[in-house]
């Protein structure tokens, strides 16, 4: 092949690619949703929906809330539905990206537990429907903790015991780790008072020798393979750790825990709002919501789904969160204004 024909071939290929991409304009009978991948919205459920309604679902997979924001704000007319975390709902709402949801198109909306409505990110519950709830908690192998000569872990403060040297794993995110320290001191997540932040900073640095690993995605693995005896992680990860090794038990720190709500929201410029409402109504059906919760291992906000949940789900305190645990949780509200400072402290902490 000489160069001319290669150039021609590439030109042709690019034109073809452009044409193919241009052909991907939204058509009626299709919806596009964007969120984390894998089975965050289980494929089996999507296929069921497609079979029932004939509406084709495109699933755009991304890795973070911020990627969703970038992509949505670049092309708001390409996406119908998004699942993002509470704070991102707040941002998208204030940036005017979201559609006010018409509840009359979704009879199953009444299945949502009102406890999870009207939160800070959507005070009147106009824009968002909660989908998956998780908290951060401790997963602990108390047997091993005892063997190391430390006292059983019930609070964040117990993580500072010198016996736990290089035996603690934590999620790798400044806000979470600063949160542990602030809570253990009795302060709030978005503390800005320089004196209190300085106090937290000192206490944080004292924790460093005990940390074996910072890991956001699979912290439970460190407990399963025994390199750590206690971990601060998200509840869906703790559920997996506990399933792999029953000696790993959850501890709900008495100082308080963060809670996260991943919510459905609709793009203001959604190309197929009608199809989107159909989809939302479908996934709020009690039996469907139960199936989703069991696959994803998140707490479902769907009250009507409870009877359909399998027994091991209902008996699992990390999934079927006890009331006193929920009461002891709070959102990371207004962390944005302290983020730069926290990130700096956190970097210094990791470098120690």
């Amino acid at each position: 092949m000489n160069r001319k024909s290669a150039v021609l071939l590439i030109a042709a290929a690019l034109v073809f690619a452009a044409a193919a991409a241009a052909g991907a304009q939204a058509r009626p009978g299709e919806i596009t949703l964007m969120t984390w991948g894998g089975d965050f919205v289980p494929r089996a459920i999507i296929e069921e929906f497609e079979k029932e309604t004939g509406i084709k679902v495109h699933y755009k997979e991304v890795t973070s809330n911020e990627d969703m924001q970038s992509l949505l704000e670049a092309n708001p007319d390409q996406y119908d539905l998004i699942i993002c975390t509470d704070y991102m709902v707040d941002i998208l709402r204030q940036n005017g990206m979201l559609e006010v949801l018409d509840k009359s198109q979704m009879p199953n909306y009444s299945n949502i537990n009102p406890v999870y409505l009207n939160k800070y990110y959507d005070p009147e519950s106009e824009y968002a429907i909660p989908y998956a709830i998780s908290i951060s908690l401790l997963l602990v192998n108390q047997e091993e903790v005892e063997r190391l000569g430390a006292k059983p872990i019930t609070t964040y403060s117990d993580l500072w015991q010198p016996e736990l040297r290089s035996k603690v794993v934590v999620v790798d995110w400044s806000v979470e780790i600063m949160g542990i320290v602030l809570k253990s001191l009795g302060y709030e997540y978005n503390e800005t008072d320089p004196a209190k932040v300085a106090e937290a900073r000192e206490k944080l640095f004292a924790l460093k020798p005990n940390i074996v690993r910072f890991e956001t995605n699979t912290p439970e693995d460190s407990l399963i393979n025994g390199e750590a005896v206690a971990g601060f992680m998200y509840s869906n990860q703790a559920v997996k750790g506990n399933a792999a090794d029953p000696r790993l038990q959850p501890v709900f720190p008495t100082e308080g825990m963060p809670i996260f709500m991943d919510c459905w929201v609709m793009s203001k410029a959604a190309p197929n709002k009608e199809g989107a409402y159909q989809f939302l109504d479908f996934i709020m059906r009690p039996e469907i919501a139960a199936e989703i919760a069991d696959i994803t291992k998140f707490t479902t906000p769907n009250k009507a789904a409870e009877p359909f949940l399998p027994e091991d789900y209902r008996n699992n305190p990390m999934l079927n969160l006890p009331d006193e645990v929920v009461e002891n949780t709070s959102f990371y509200i207004g962390v944005d204004k302290v983020l730069v400072e926290y990130e700096h402290i956190y970097t210094e902490f990791k470098l120690r």
């Binding site: 973070s64 809330n65 911020e66 990627d67 707040d90 941002i91 204030q94 940036n95 790798d172 995110w173 400044s174 940390i211 074996v212 690993r213 910072f214 890991e215 393979n225 025994g226 390199e227 207004g334 944005d336 204004k337 983020l339 730069v340 990130e343 700096h344 970097t347 210094e348 990791k350 470098l351």
Partner: protein, 283 residues
């Protein structure tokens, strides 16, 4: 052809890079002087705060960590990769193609999975520790994970093929008659290697180092997964700032800091290697 006519030939290349790199670079530079509001949105207000942050002693240590990692990665890949490239280039043609194919093949596998592969090997309950325990060589697992060295092994592993291929291309076109002449004149293998082979393959070494050093400086997840986050590297810091940290202007300033660091090191390196050989890659 006149000079400007000859230079006109470069127009398509310049246009292509100018558009696809130039425009984004201008955006990044502009962004690095802007501010953000409490929602993480960009505010069009000039500030030098981002650069003040970059020069913070804590963050300068992150630059230093990454620089150290990248330099060591360059050296390690050279020490491991050069002999590989040299030996493979001297194989008979058919086996040479096979060797090259086998060298590149692992890199078709997702680097995330290969990183997990390293964790499976090196972990406390990993394959290597199990083997050592079973053989009675150690009586408790060797802690091999979550250290700077672990990050280094992983980074070097990921970037090795670039070094091998670059050196391979240099060795491959090496004029064998020069080596023969050297032997005929009574030079030993060692003398020939250091006085003929190395200088003649210097362009490959320079090219390979360049192609390894730059990605190593900004590698995104490999160093962090294997290092367990116990050392902070630039790639992850910038990525976190640009995403969850919701501070694109600061991430832009850090990006430009990284660009400056890379250019500084590379220009020094090219200068030194050019003085030595007189015909290195970037003369």
């Amino acid at each position: 052809m006149s000079t400007w006519k000859r230079n006109l030939l470069a127009a398509p290349v310049l246009l292509w890079i100018g558009l696809l790199v130039g425009v984004p670079m201008v955006l990044v530079v502009a962004l690095s002087f802007l501010s953000r509001d409490n929602l993480g949105n960009i505010v069009y207000q000039f500030t030098l705060d981002n650069y003040r942050r970059v020069l913070d002693p804590i963050y300068l240590r992150v630059f230093w960590n990454s620089l150290l990692l990248a330099l060591l990665t360059g050296v390690i890949t050279l020490l491991i990769g050069y002999p590989v490239a040299y030996i493979s280039a001297n194989l008979p043609p058919r086996r040479r193609a096979l060797a090259l194919g086998l060298i590149m093949l692992p890199f078709w596998i997702s680097s995330l999975l290969r990183t997990y592969g390293w964790m499976i090997l090196l972990g406390n309950t990993g394959l290597i520790n199990n083997l050592l325990l079973a053989l009675g060589i150690v009586d408790r697992p060797l802690p091999m994970m979550y250290k700077f060295g672990t990050s280094l092994v992983g980074t070097a592993y990921m970037l090795l093929p670039f070094m091998v291929v670059a050196v391979f291309n240099s060795v491959d076109k090496l004029d064998r008659s020069l080596l023969e002449a050297s032997y005929d004149l009574g030079a030993s293998r060692r003398q020939t290697f250091f006085h003929i082979t190395i200088p003649l393959t210097l362009p490959g070494i320079v090219g390979g180092f360049t192609l390894v050093f730059i990605p190593a400086l900004g590698l995104y997840f490999v160093s962090d997964l294997l290092g367990g986050g116990n050392t902070v590297f630039l790639g992850n810091l910038i990525h976190t700032m640009a995403t969850r940290g919701r501070n694109r202007p600061l991430a832009a300033a850090f990006s430009l800091g990284m660009v400056a660091l890379a250019l500084l090191v590379l220009s020094l390196y090219w200068k030194v290697s050019k003085d030595k050989s007189g015909e290195a890659l970037f003369q």
